[in-house]
Symmetry: C2
Subunit: 235 residues, 2 copies
Amino acid sequence: MSLKYLTAKLAQQIDEELMNQAGAFSIDQLMELAGLACAQALARVYDKKKYPNVLVCCGPGNQGGDGLVAARHLGMFGYTPTIFMPKPGSKDIYQRLKTQCDNMKIKTIPPSNDTSALREALTSSNVILDAIFGFSFKGPIRAPFDSALPLLSDSRLPIVSVDIPSGWDVEEGNVEGVGLQPDVLVSLTAPKLGVRSFRGRHFLGGRFIPKTLEDNFELNLPVYPGSDQIVELKE
Amino acid sequence: MSLKYLTAKLAQQIDEELMNQAGAFSIDQLMELAGLACAQALARVYDKKKYPNVLVCCGPGNQGGDGLVAARHLGMFGYTPTIFMPKPGSKDIYQRLKTQCDNMKIKTIPPSNDTSALREALTSSNVILDAIFGFSFKGPIRAPFDSALPLLSDSRLPIVSVDIPSGWDVEEGNVEGVGLQPDVLVSLTAPKLGVRSFRGRHFLGGRFIPKTLEDNFELNLPVYPGSDQIVELKE
């Protein structure tokens, strides 16, 4: 039985089941574990001595929240994260997660009408964490991300994408050719259909799916090693 | 500068600072990371092949919540936890954490007027996670824990205590002589005054204290290795 790749709808359904009354998880819990997994995957591949400066790019949705959690944990791990979040989400949880980063003196690129601040930040970054679009993304890419994505690509910095590389269709992949080309991917709960062809280092995070839920959705998840929050997927 | 040992009042103050508006953490987040740290410390010392069955003993307060989170993670790690929670806390979060354990088919010892069910569970357990009393404990030990603690001690099973071994005075230690004698201790955020004389394996968890908070309270925390959620304290 091989690992299941999820449609956007199925990914949404699993999230809902985890958080409904029967599943009982709060978004705070799931986001904490997801963001921690992303930070651990980045740290596994990019050593902080060689790649100290991480540009954490956050979208306005839940994936942006995962990014903020990851930024905080990366700060705890000894990296120097900088947050790029040009369109902050309005939910209370994003505000709280952002405050937690502020309290750790993690810098955020100031909002601006042009891309100069992002360009500047890229010149001093060693690796990018892409937490811009998640499994609820539907194109086209809107401002300010339409101008940001090409800059991230052009930087030639290594990219760690969360769940679905930003700009990719969740089920069809990088069909428009406008998406990021990450070196590392961290799929959460289970990989999405759109990343079937991804050939970089691929980790799975989100070690919180009860066996019954896994069975119901026939996810066929791999075994996570030890007490790790991530498992690397091999061909 | 050596690691600071906290009074009960200081521990309470740090918790409050983390969760007030400025600190911005939710109890869900802190409990998730604390419980994960406890599970990881247990897994570090007691291999699941040799110690598969973990009796997770939970009190009615926040430490019981940490225990429930730890039970869930231990289940994820491949252990078979059983929950002993004779006096469930009434807060909504405990109910949710308990449901998450139920969803993972983690058994709970049924409530009973005598200790037979606990005795029975102890015979099939390999290790105990003691999450009964935390830093807000004030003696004397009340029912049903007054009869439970001696049974845990008499079992001669290895014990991993969270924050303060149950029955110990938070600042004075095991002065009454009625407390558990753990083999392993997991202190959360910073160790409490009462465990200064503890000589077993001692881990620190709760990797979420911002540097400014650490400095304000002069905690002098040790460096956590890599992306671990725990660090072992050495003499």
